[in-house]
């Protein structure tokens, strides 16, 4: 063994190591990326019961007309289907909260009842309004099963505003904004049912 041969071996090892890592990385990058997308969409869609859809909802966007609603703006809509039948419509809605805009994902079943609500982005006060982003979220869970007509329009408000819903303690404005966004989305669904899911089987 000599100094020169050692240097040659180390340089060879470096080249081999870099080459091997590069090749392995290149050959597996597409599969890892698609796996990552699947994981992301599953995280995003965990407000839906796993057996309520069998398509890739994020790859099935819906067209939105007049997306500016009374209190909120719809940004995008996706359709979840099961066995080819529309099962859930996902509406991404943006509403103005206390400290900035709040993005929520609202899932409405084909029959018009609310399946779930999930906060995607918010900048509310930590410890107060920011609790809207907790997941799972007991406060948001309370809306599941409600619909546009159940409760009636004047029930869709905080108890403080003569409605029927509790608020997140210390976060009236945040709670009010999210309730309005949900109500808007349900109303929009009701008015555009034909366009979103076609003929509902319940009609």
């Amino acid at each position: 063994m000599s100094r020169a041969s050692s240097v040659v071996i180390v340089v060879l090892l470096a080249g081999l190591g870099i080459g091997a890592t590069y090749l392995v990385q290149q050959s597996s990058a597409p599969r890892i990326a698609s796996e990552q997308r699947l994981l992301d969409s599953r995280n995003l869609l965990d407000l839906l019961p796993a057996d309520s859809y069998d398509n890739q909802p994020l790859e099935q966007p819906l067209r939105l007309d007049d997306a500016v609603l009374t209190n909120s703006t719809l940004q995008s809509a996706y359709l979840a289907t099961k066995a080819g039948q529309p099962s859930v419509v996902l509406l991404r809605s943006q509403v103005l909260g206390y400290a900035g805009s709040i993005d929520v994902l609202i899932a409405i079943g084909a029959n018009g009842t609310l399946v779930g609500v999930k906060t995607l982005r918010q900048s509310e006060t930590p410890g107060l309004g920011a609790r809207i982003a907790d997941w799972p979220n007991a406060w948001l869970n309370a809306f599941a099963g409600k619909s546009r007509s159940e409760p009636a329009d004047n029930g869709w408000a905080l108890k403080k505003d003569q409605g029927q819903f509790d608020q997140i303690a210390g976060a009236t404005i945040t709670s009010r904004a999210v309730i309005n966004a949900i109500h808007d989305a349900l109303r929009y669904f009701d008015e555009h049912r034909q366009q979103l899911v076609g003929n509902s089987p319940h009609e």
Binding site: M1, R3, S6, I9, V10, G17, S28, R31, I32
Partner: protein, 169 residues
Amino acid sequence: MNKSSTLQNSLMLAPLIGATDSWMTALGLWLMFIVVISAYGVGMTTLRPRLVPSARLFAGILLAATLTSCAEIAAQLWSLKWHQQVGIYAGLIALQCVVLDHTGFFQSALRDRLRLCGLFGALMVGLGLLRELIGNGGLHLATLVPGGFILLGLLIAAWQAWSRPNPSH
């Protein structure tokens, strides 16, 4: 316990606390550790006689980095979710290879090497199982990192109390 084995043991502490929130992650990381360490051992045994002493550390670092990177990518292919949980601890395996090499682990008897690997595995999986059981039993703290530390401390204290002769005798 000499200085180098302290370094070796304290390096093992990081995965022992960080990657044992469930026994599956612990077992996976241990298997990855065994695969990388074995490949590293084989590689270094071939290279060592052909290198001057000053070049051995460089070669070791290069080999450890290559093997760990490839193992990490393979782990991502196998299960991305698992890899996201233990990613940084899997990266530490490279450092463990180099430190083990430095402390003469690969020159020691096969029995000693197996013993250390087995002990590490048993500790990882045991702690993982224990934390998962306690966590499922309702004490959520056990699945968090501080809980792991406290549990390990209690286990060590229990071990000391049990194995040390009673001073009153």
